[in-house]
Amino acid sequence: MWNYTDKVKEHFFNPKNAGALDEANAVGEVGSITCGDALKLMMKVNPDSQVIEDAKFQTFGCGSAIASSSALTEMIIGKTVDEALAVTNRDIAEYLGGLPPEKMHCSVMGAEALRAAIANFKGEEWVDDHEEGELVCKCFGIDAAMIERAVTVNSLTTLEEVTHYTKAGGSCQTCHEKIEEVLEAVLAKTGALAPPKPHAPGTVGLDAIKPLAPKAEAAPAKLTNVQRMQKIMFAIEELRPQIQRDGGDVELVDIDGKDIYVRLTGACSGCSQSAGTMMGVQAKLVEALGEFVRVKPASLLPVGA
């Protein structure tokens, strides 16, 4: 049985704003009965003030899908359309006190329905690209097609690289075998996968003995600021589950050249081991960026920065 938080249960057993909203002028529908999850979000937006005055939902789905929908309506009522656009799936999950990693797609569905409804209100066309291929990483909602694209475009060769580029497999890790299959299929197609050299029976082939990797001193290709920031964000995202398991959390606050400011929260704040945690974050970032950076607590952020 899933380990749902009390907040998820509360919103599932007594959903808020369930049902049809007759005077809706913004409707977003995502998912389908085929994939087992569907959400119809209906909002009444004041055309002058752009404020979402009311919102209701109808959901076909599991407990966390219904809870995510209910939470979403509570979060957006009273917000302007532009304010609501800032609501991410993470916000929905956090509002609920967290969702099991395998259920994060329920919060993604909520965020997508919101965007679809706002697009509908603005008279824009909403493109739902959710169901492109088989969903491989359920935690981050990454499908096979996206992994294939990332592997091809960036010439990726390892599972680790796929995780770095797409986030797929970065959380619960249950999809690692599937990612490897997708990876192998692409590599086989592009011919990047050379067959191992045969060797005499009962012996170990020389190809099995890997030479020591040369010291990495070659200057890595210069990253753009955005790429660099993304790398830092991904690296921290990867670390979070580990830190969360210990009851804490880490959040990126600012990047100032070589100085990266983070905030430790939960059990980590004030923990005697927090310096060690900071060192761990630093090591991870150095590895991810291939350059030396200093990780500092947010409290050291220069005033006025």
């Binding site: 049985m1 599932f12 057993f13 959903p15 369930a18 049902g19 529908e29 009965i33 085929t34 994939c35 087992g36 999850d37 569907a38 959400l39 119809k40 109808q58 959901t59 076909f60 789905g61 599991c62 407990g63 899908a65 219904i66 099991p100 395998e102 259920k103 797609h105 969903l135 359920k138």
Partner: protein, 405 residues
Amino acid sequence: MTANTVQLGIYLDNNATTRVDPEVLAEMLPLFTEQFGNPSSMHGFGAAVGGKIEWARKQVQALLGAAHDSEIVFTSGGTESDNTAILSVLEAYPKKKSIVTSVVEHPAVLALCDYLEKKRGYTVHRIGVDNRGNLNLDAYKAALGPDVAIVSIMWANNETGTIFPIEELAQLAKAAGAVFHTDAVQAVGKIPMTLATSAVDMLSLSGHKLHAPKGIGALYVKRGLRFRPMLRGGHQERSRRAGTENAPGIVGLGAAAQLALMHMTDENTRVKALRDKLEQAILAAVPNCFVTGNPANRLPNTCNVAFEYIEGEAILLLLNEAGIAASSGSACTSGSLEPSHVMRAMGVPYTAAHGATRFSLSRETTEEEIDRVIAVVPGIIAKLRSLSPYWSQAGAPKEFAPVYS
């Protein structure tokens, strides 16, 4: 709170696992305390345990109607039995490169077959079923050929309870020169068996589905069949399954087999009648739902009802809140978005497959419990449908009404 004061509620998920029978537990307990010897040891401590294991083997033999007690190999459970059976045959007949199985098997068979196909180059014929879950016999016959090493078809399906014509399938396999294995994890203890006069070569069973503990099972291997062990090591189980015997588990399984044989009639009369009562009451009170599988030919304890336009996990959560434990063929319970492979194989429409809910009874189920479930289910379904975008105030939308005969 002690274990005795926990409100356990109504347990209708016996195809997932059963409660260990108190009599089974009583038989097992001495194996943890005074009779703790290793049966392989050359002293009295060991000998006492060895004798109990042989007693248990005879009980399992009796339940299966097998000709010899030496045909019973104790394993860790259904998955190990299934894996051992298939791998043993492939190793014993290395020139044959095909496997025949069905699309509705348990993952213990399906996942292994997928692996053998992908990584070891075997050809796997997966026989389909019709919309009532009956095996496509023509496709089955067509798949049998000289290259088939093993046929592995379940006796009864875990989700719908649908029973396959095992004897007929086994004889056809035999005529084609293939070994016939059946995963009978759900069927053992619920329907009578006489393996002594059957064409079945191998059969898997699992203790915890028949009121024995988890972690114990058995593989039936017909005398004379070529066998290659999966676990190699010591000479336990006549070198067919190495590893120190799980003596308490084995004795528990023996006791459970004895009880299952004794209660077989109850299973097929009282339990079956309760199942039918539950099913008919649900069908009468709830619109847009139907029984999946073959209602005329299935396990006496299983009913699987598909509720249209709602999703299984949500049903389970509300049932659980009402103190009722059931199971779902919905994928969201597993974190996947696809409904169960069994529902999909039967072509159950998506509108209903996601809402498939399994109620599986046991000899411990009472009439009061069934009455309570009957009272609660319609309200739960109505509540969830009121939230569903596919269900209008007036009832089921016309365009979705699937035909399912």
